[in-house]
C-alpha cells in the first residue's frame, strides 16, 4: 500500500498509509501544490502546525476510523446531539485539556472533519449546564467583556424563565 512521509513541526518524520490521510484536504492540497504523487517521491511533506505527539494521536484516530466515510452534512434545521460519541472515541478523548486543545487545532488544520466534530462535541459537553463563571474557570479564560454584569442580567433572566 502506498505510503507518504509527513514531517511534524519538531522535525520528526512519520511514514503513513496514504489512505489514512487522503481525507485531509490540507494534505491533498499540499500533495498537488508540491507536484508530488502517492509513490516514489521521498521528500516528506512539512506540517509546521502539528507537533509530533499530537500528530501521533491524530494518526491513531484516523487509523481506527479509516474505513468510516466522512460524516454526512446534517440538515440545517435538525438538532445536533452530543450524547452519541462512540466508546472508543470517549476513551481516545480521555486526555488532559492541553492535548484536547491541540487535537482540535490539529483536526482543524489538517481538515479531518470527523475528528473535529467529535472533539468539538466533547468540548460542548464540558460547557453544557455551566454558568459563565464556571466555564471561565474550567477553561481558564479571562473575561474581558465590558459591563459584564449588565449583559449577564438578561441571560440570568433566561435562566429564571426556564
Amino acid at each position: 500500500m502506498p505510503s507518504i512521509k509527513l514531517q511534524s513541526s519538531g522535525g520528526e518524520i512519520f511514514e503513513v498509509d496514504v489512505e489514512i490521510v487522503k481525507q485531509s484536504l490540507t494534505i491533498k492540497t499540499m500533495l498537488e501544490d508540491l507536484g508530488m504523487h502517492d509513490e516514489g517521491d521521498d521528500d516528506p511533506i512539512p506540517l509546521p502546525n502539528a507537533n509530533a505527539a499530537i500528530f501521533k494521536k491524530v494518526i491513531q484516530w484516523r487509523t481506527h476510523h479509516k474505513d468510516n466515510p466522512p460524516p454526512p452534512e446534517v440538515d440545517e434545521d435538525k438538532e445536533k446531539r452530543t450524547d452519541d460519541i462512540s466508546l472508543w472515541d470517549q476513551e481516545f478523548l480521555k486526555v488532559d485539556q492541553g492535548t484536547l486543545f491541540e487535537l482540535i487545532l490539529a483536526a482543524n488544520y489538517l481538515d479531518f472533519k470527523g475528528l473535529l466534530d467529535v472533539t468539538c462535541k466533547s468540548v460542548a459537553n464540558m460547557v453544557k449546564r455551566k454558568t459563565p463563571e464556571e466555564i471561565c474557570k474550567t477553561f481558564n479564560i479571562k473575561n474581558d467583556l465590558p459591563g459584564t454584569n449588565k449583559i449577564c442580567l438578561w441571560t440570568s433572566k433566561l435562566i429564571l424563565y426556564f
Binding site: 488532559d96 492541553g98 455551566k130 477553561f139 481558564n140
Partner: protein
C-alpha cells in the same frame, strides 16, 4: 468525557501553579499554554453548534471572542419562538429581551422559524408582532403551531393576514409552510403563490375556515413542486385532484384530509368523482392518502361508495358497522386503520373482510368496539406477520366457546410471531 477532577487541578490559580504548568509544558512538548478564549472563531462556532440556546447564551458571556461567535449568522438559522403567558401557562417562554435581540441583530439570518403559541390571544398577537418585523428574512420554513386552543383564530383576521403577508412577500423561497388553525384566506394564498410558487413543497392548512376550494386550487395550479398537502374536506374538489395530477406537477407524496362535522346532521359533504381519484393515483402511485374522520354516524353517507386510494384511516368518533364494512370493500391500499369507537354489535365480519381485501394492512387500532375472540384470531391468522402494530383495548375482545381472554393472547402471539397483549389505554 472529562469533568471535575483534572480540570479543577489545572485551574486552581492559588497553589503550586508554577509547578503544575511547568509539568504541562514538558508533557505538551511546546511552550504555549492553551488559550481557549482566543480559539479560532470557526472552531468555537463548531462547538456552539452543539449547544442548546441557554448554554450558548452562557458561553457567550465568557469573553469577547466567544461573544462574537454567539452572534455569527450560522447559529441563527433555526429558531422556535415559544410564546406563552406566564399567568396561564406553566410552559417556558422565549424571553422578550431575547426576541428583541433576534429581530435587531439576526432577523436576516433566520431561515427555519416556528412559533409555538398557547391558547391566549396575547400569545398569538405577540407572534404576529414578530412576524410583521421579519422584513429582512428569507425564510425557508415557517410553522405556526397552537399548543392548545387555536388562539390565532381569536385575532382580527386583517391583523393576522398582514403579518403573514410580510413573510410571503419577503421570503420568496418558502419551502415548507404550516398554518393549520389560522384565519388565512384566499387573497393571502394568492400572495404566497405569487412569490413562492417555485419553491413550495409542503403546505399544511387543516382547519382554515376562511379558505375556499378556489383558493387552494390556485396553489395546486401554480406550485408544481408541492409534495405534501394537508387540508379539510370542504377544500377538496375534483379540480384540485386533477390539478395535482397534471403533467407539470410533481408526484404527490402525502395528502392528508380532515373530514370534520361540528353539528350533527348540519354539514353537507359533497362527493368527489371516482375518475378524479383514479387520475390522482395514476399520477402519484406511491402517495400516502391519510383521512381523519370526525363525523357523526349518520353523516357517512357520501363516503366509501366506490374504490378510493386511502392508505391511512382514522375514525375519531363512533363509526357504524355498515361503514366499516364498506371500508373493507373500497380501500384496497389500506395500510393503517384506527377506530376509536363503534356500536355494541361485534365487528367480526367487517374485520375478516378487511383482512381479506386489504393486503397491505400493517397497523390496526380498536377502541370502544366489540370483536369476538374467534373472529379476532381468524383476523390475525389471515394478516399474519405483516401486522407490525396491533393495538386493541382489552374490553374490545369478547370471549366465546373457543377462546377465553387468557387464551387469546397466546393464540395471537403465535400467529404474529411475537409476544402480544391487549392494551389498557389507547395508544393513539
Amino acid at each position: 468525557m472529562k469533568r471535575g477532577g483534572r480540570d479543577s487541578d489545572r485551574n486552581s490559580s492559588e497553589e503550586g501553579t508554577t509547578e503544575k504548568s511547568k509539568k504541562l509544558r514538558t508533557t505538551n512538548e511546546h511552550s504555549q499554554t492553551c488559550d481557549w478564549g482566543n480559539l479560532l472563531q470557526d472552531i468555537i462556532l463548531q462547538v456552539f453548534k452543539y449547544l442548546p440556546l441557554l448554554d450558548r447564551a452562557h458561553a457567550s458571556q465568557v469573553c469577547r471572542n466567544w461573544n462574537q461567535v454567539f452572534h455569527m449568522p450560522d447559529l441563527w438559522r433555526c429558531f422556535e419562538f415559544e410564546l406563552n403567558q406566564p399567568a396561564t401557562s406553566y410552559l417556558k417562554a422565549t424571553h422578550p429581551e431575547l426576541i428583541k435581540q433576534i429581530i435587531k441583530r439576526h432577523s436576516n439570518h433566520l431561515q427555519y422559524v416556528s412559533f409555538k403559541v398557547d391558547s391566549s390571544k396575547e400569545s398569538a398577537e405577540a407572534a404576529c408582532d414578530i412576524l410583521s418585523q421579519l422584513v429582512n428574512c428569507s425564510l425557508k420554513t415557517l410553522g405556526l403551531i397552537s399548543t392548545a386552543r387555536p388562539s390565532f383564530m381569536d385575532l382580527p383576521k386583517s391583523h393576522f393576514i398582514s403579518a403573514l403577508t410580510v413573510v410571503f412577500v419577503n421570503s420568496k423561497s418558502l419551502s415548507s409552510l404550516k398554518i393549520d388553525d389560522t384565519p388565512v384566506d384566499d387573497p393571502s394564498l394568492k400572495v404566497l403563490v405569487a412569490n413562492n410558487s417555485d419553491t413550495l413543497k409542503l403546505l399544511k392548512m387543516s382547519s382554515c375556515p376562511h379558505v375556499s376550494p378556489a383558493g387552494i386550487l390556485c396553489v395546486a395550479d401554480q406550485c408544481h413542486g408541492l409534495r405534501e398537502l394537508a387540508l379539510n374536506y370542504h377544500l377538496l374538489s375534483d379540480e384540485l385532484l386533477l390539478a395535482l395530477s397534471s403533467e407539470k406537477h410533481v408526484r404527490l407524496e402525502h395528502l392528508r384530509i380532515d373530514v370534520v362535522s361540528e353539528n350533527p346532521g348540519q354539514t353537507h359533504f359533497h362527493t368527489i368523482q371516482k375518475s378524479s381519484w383514479d387520475a390522482f393515483i395514476r399520477h402519484s402511485p406511491k402517495v400516502n392518502l391519510v383521512m381523519y374522520f370526525f363525523l357523526y354516524e349518520e353523516e357517512f353517507d357520501p363516503f366509501f361508495r366506490y374504490e378510493i386510494p386511502a392508505t391511512h384511516l382514522y375514525f375519531g368518533r363512533s363509526v357504524s358497522k355498515d361503514v366499516l364494512g364498506r371500508v373493507g370493500m373500497t380501500c384496497p391500499r389500506l395500510v393503517e386503520l384506527v377506530v376509536c369507537a363503534n356500536g355494541l354489535r361485534p365487528l367480526d365480519e367487517e374485520l375478516i373482510r378487511i383482512a381479506e381485501r386489504c393486503k397491505n394492512l400493517s397497523a390496526i387500532g380498536l377502541g370502544e368496539c366489540e370483536v369476538s375472540c374467534s373472529a379476532f384470531v381468524e383476523f390475525v391468522k389471515m394478516c399474519g406477520g405483516r401486522l407490525s402494530q396491533l393495538s386493541i383495548m382489552e374490553e374490545v375482545l369478547i370471549p366465546d366457546q373457543k377462546y377465553s381472554l387468557e387464551q387469546i393472547h397466546w393464540e395471537v402471539s403465535k400467529h404474529l410471531g411475537r409476544v402480544w397483549f391487549p392494551d389498557m389505554m389507547p395508544t393513539w
